[in-house]
Subunit: 153 residues, 2 copies
DNA sequence: TTCTAACAATTAGCCCTTCTAACTAATTAT
DNA sequence: ATAATTAGTTAGAAGGGCTAATTGTTAGAA
């Protein structure tokens, strides 16, 4: 039985926003509230790419430079990231995550993964395998990058 | 080979935000900008459930009543929805989508689905089948509702 | 029956997200 | 040197989402 792209598109369009809402809600439900999703994503990227510039972050997040600038501003204001000037090219920033930023990022990740893991526990292992395969396929389609799951060792 | 829930959770956590960003970006890229994702979701729900109350919408979207009130306010301000008092219970609203709201909603859906369909076209049919199965499994897990894909006939 | 409890929706106030347009400052190229 | 490019910021707008407190409305109990 054939699966046309239209059908898959409908299902993706229906389900992805639902899961995203869950993720957002779990991330922001901590006491005290830790990180929003974009904040987490920015921290996570800079954590893995110390010394990244603002545009590096913007490109990775798919945001405009002004949006990213404001986002980074907030993170620095909360003491989670630092902004340094490079002597080489004084236009380019050198961003880095603070200890506290690293800690908060790990906490946000753990909390979210724990929640998702819990949700995915009550299903057939076969279904989980299907999900993993689907995620890999989608990752490839939407990023052009076949690598996945290497971020967190 | 066994797939532990932790692995599936990681993949979901990595891939879902990426796809969501794409969806958001496509929805907002129209000229003139049409709808945001929550606006689309609200319109779509009320379109299928004419006369719904504010709490009906809030529950379906997973938002608090104040957030939903503001959201609906915006839609009414743009002439996409109407708010009516019910004589039966004057506390309860009767929301409805205007012709223009319906049109804009269809346009947003078509645009997004066209984009997703295009992305999903360049992959094995087998991969698409895996994706469809994964979406159904995820939908069930996250909503408790096995029905999917009945929204758009 | 009147007083109270519950309910539907809104307002106010907070902070975050994201954009475009316009700007400053630094670097590279002509 | 001057012009073009690049990195990043500021300003201003519209929206998303929350909690706490408020206004009406309905239903229930004394």
């Amino acid at each position: 039985m054939s699966v046309p792209p239209e059908e898959a598109a409908k299902d993706v369009f229906e389900v992805v926003p639902i899961i995203m809402r869950e993720i957002r809600s779990v991330m922001r439900s901590k006491r005290p509230p830790v990180l929003t999703v974009p904040q987490y994503r920015a921290l996570s990227f800079v954590d893995r790419n110390a010394g990244a510039s603002l545009l590096d972050v913007a490109n990775h997040l798919g945001l405009t430079p002004p949006s990213t600038s404001k986002l980074v501003d907030g993170l620095i204001g909360h003491g989670l990231m630092t902004r340094e000037e490079q002597p080489v090219d004084r236009r380019r920033l050198k961003l880095a995550v603070t200890d506290r930023g690293h800690k908060d990022m790990i906490a946000a990740r753990q909390g979210t993964l724990a929640y998702l893991t819990d949700r995915l526990r009550n299903m057939d292992e076969g279904d989980r395998e299907v999900i993993v395969r689907a995620m890999k396929a989608l990752h490839l389609i939407f990023t052009g990058n076949p690598k996945i799951g290497e971020r967190w060792g």
